[in-house]
């Protein structure tokens, strides 16, 4: 089916590919190579000289209980963010799919949070839940609940999960809505006539037909929770209390730029790189296997 363009020489195709290759090389291969190189050394605190340690940094990391705890934290954090942002988005999309009047306005309003940068979103939520001046924590106080995410680890986790999911709901909503509207109306109607009520239809028809969208979002959201939530965590908790919200990417930053252990930080980056690689492979493997109509 695919139409292939046949080039006469190799110069034009090479030129056409160049911009993409250069960008990838400069912004990905070069820094990634540097990270791998650095992960094999331990520099002194002043950065004057560094000592080759082979895989020593990795050995240390895998034996480090804090690093392993950070893995668990990341798993919990990204799991919760993915579940909440996708679950709520799917629910809203199901409601919007039945909406006819005002669908455009509704959609536009729901998309706004996506335009808010993670760090700004973090600050917004921080102000609302600030233990001294936060509106929400004040109301919670009136209800007799003493909100303090600065000391309470669970509350800290809850807050960063909420702040990270919030901005993500819009994005997921858009994809879910598009996915739902791509399901032919008549298929749903046929199921209704066949005797399926709303939830049966959802379970047996809508959900399976939506699965390519769901899977795509799953991968994208996990990657988001792994990497792009840095701003939220940095502004709200700074990884605390007691490293309860230090996810892997935050630990790369705090070990490297705060703790000045650049070798370990580089090693952590490499491990993260492998994780992304793995996620990407999974993504491609499954996205290829779409449901075709």
């Amino acid at each position: 089916m695919e139409k292939r363009v046949i080039f006469k020489g190799w110069l034009l195709p090479l030129l056409l590919l160049m911009p993409q290759v250069i960008i990838t090389a400069v912004f990905f291969f070069y820094p990634a190579g540097q990270a791998i190189w650095q992960s094999l050394f331990i520099p002194d605190p002043f950065g004057l000289k560094s000592q080759f340690v082979g895989l020593g940094n990795f050995e240390f990391l895998l034996g480090d209980p804090y690093y392993r705890a950070s893995f668990v934290t990341t798993a919990i954090f990204s799991g919760l963010v993915t579940i909440f942002s996708m679950g709520i988005a799917l629910y809203l999309a199901l409601l919007a799919d039945r909406l006819i009047k005002g669908a455009g306005t509704y959609r536009t309003l729901l998309i706004w949070p996506y335009a808010v940068a993670p760090a700004v979103a973090g600050v917004l939520w921080l102000f609302m839940f600030n233990t001294r001046v936060g509106v929400v924590s004040w109301y919670l106080g009136l209800l007799g609940y003493d909100w303090n995410h600065v000391l309470n680890q669970t509350e800290a986790m809850g807050l960063v999960v909420a702040a990270s999911s919030w901005g993500r709901i819009s994005y997921n909503f858009l994809f879910f809505l598009a996915g739902l509207q791509a399901i032919p109306r008549s298929v749903i109607e046929a199921a209704a006539i066949d005797g399926a009520r709303f939830w049966t239809r959802f379970r047996t028809i809508v959900w399976p037909l939506l699965s390519p969208t769901t899977f795509f979002l799953l991968v994208v959201n996990v990657v988001y929770a792994f990497f792009e939530t840095f701003g939220v965590i940095h502004t709200i908790t700074g990884g605390g209390p007691q490293q309860a919200t230090t996810i892997l990417v935050y630990k790369v930053y705090s070990d490297g730029f705060v703790g000045q252990d650049l070798g370990s930080s580089a090693a952590q980056s490499v491990i993260l790189l492998l994780v992304v690689g793995l996620l990407t492979v999974i993504q491609f493997k499954f996205i290829e296997r779409r449901v075709h109509y």
């Binding site: 032919p184 008549s186 298929v187 109607e189 046929a190 199921a191 209704a192 006539i193 066949d194 005797g195 399926a196 009520r197 049966t200 047996t204 028809i205 399976p208 037909l209 449901v291 075709h292 109509y293």
Partner: protein
């Protein structure tokens, strides 16, 4: 087995009324075809019977029970859609058995009924395939199978053949007719194709602008159209309409005279009821269609045996027909019967 009754059913979308009160009374086991041009409201009417559209006014009754407020699944109907609406992620077997599985029918009973349906529709060999692996005709059969396994009391067909090519359409038409006769299930069939309507229907309903212009057996409708629209819509080539005043002997008491192409014949110029100039003729083998332009500007088509002499463009001819074959209409397009 059931009867289906529509009592002055109306439908409004916002402020526009698309169906202005339709009455239909369908007997048990009858095959009714609703035919009309696109936009006449025939599909909307069918969707109201199915419960996919709300009824603005009037009643729909299945076997004497008012179903206006029932959900589609509670109406005991089955529907075949124009695009088949098969479940793309399910095999043919799963597609056909879907309704039974939801209803919680026992597994062996499901297997038995699917096997019977598949046998009837020659789908035995394809039960494990996905819809995308089937041809158009096979998909159509799966859609039929899905409808018949549930043994509904009413079948609804929404232009089921319009996505098939011409040859397959003729074949499926015969199969649908045979199947309906065999099962004896009351059926309501919507189409814009008057040949389908003529061949399938026990009685047909000609719809026009949200009104049922005429209800009757196909040949009755053909022979005695109730309105000018019906006369023009049913039959191909269409009925010729000539202004009553432009004829050699003007007719009184009507505005327009309708003449079927097969009733007219070419005579010498100056004879007959009207004169015309041949614009072109189509020789189809068994018959020849001669198109003429009348002095009043109307097109006129004469259908004659293929063995009769043809006519050349530009030839002046007279057109004659037996006066008894004329169909008279008033200015509003209604039939004038008293002649």
């Amino acid at each position: 087995m059931a009867t289906l009754k529509l009592n002055s059913v109306k439908k409004r979308f916002g402020k526009t009324e698309v169906i202005h009160g339709v009455d239909i009374d369908i007997a048990e086991g009858e095959f009714i075809v609703i035919v009309g041009p696109s936009g006449c409201g025939k599909s909307t009417l069918l969707r109201m019977v199915a419960g996919l559209e709300t009824v603005t006014a009037g009643d729909i009754e299945i076997s004497g029970k008012r179903v206006n407020d029932l959900e589609p699944m509670d109406r005991d109907i089955a529907m075949v859609f124009q695009n088949y609406a098969l479940y793309p992620h399910m095999s043919v077997y799963e597609n056909i058995s879907y309704g039974l599985r939801i209803a919680g029918v026992a597994k062996d009973e499901i297997a038995r009924r699917v096997a019977t349906a598949a046998n009837m529709l020659q789908l035995d060999a394809h039960l494990k395939r996905k819809p995308r692996e089937l041809s158009g005709g096979q998909r159509q059969r799966v859609a039929m199978g899905r409808a018949i396994v549930r043994k509904p009391s009413v079948f609804l067909f929404d232009e089921p053949l319009s996505n098939l090519d011409a040859k397959l359409r003729v074949q499926m038409r015969l199969e649908i007719k045979a199947l309906q006769k065999e099962l004896g299930i009351t059926s309501l069939y919507v189409t814009h194709d008057q040949v389908e309507a003529m061949t399938l229907a026990d009685r047909m309903i000609v719809m026009h602008d949200g009104v049922a212009d005429q209800i009757g057996a196909p040949l009755d409708v053909y022979a005695n159209p109730a309105t000018q629209f019906v006369a023009g819509f049913i039959g191909s080539p269409a009925t010729n309409f000539v202004p009553a005043t432009s004829l050699a002997t003007p007719r009184s008491g009507c505005a327009t005279v309708g003449v079927r192409p097969e009733h007219a014949r070419i005579v010498h110029s100056g004879n007959g009821h009207a004169t015309g100039i041949v614009t072109f003729s189509e020789a189809l083998g068994a018959e020849t269609l001669i198109h003429l332009a009348l002095p009043s500007g109307e097109q006129f088509t004469v259908r004659q045996e293929g063995s009769m002499p043809g006519r050349n463009p530009g030839e002046h001819c007279g057109i004659d027909w037996p006066p008894a074959s004329e169909i008279h209409f008033d200015a509003a397009g209604q039939r004038v019967t008293a002649r």
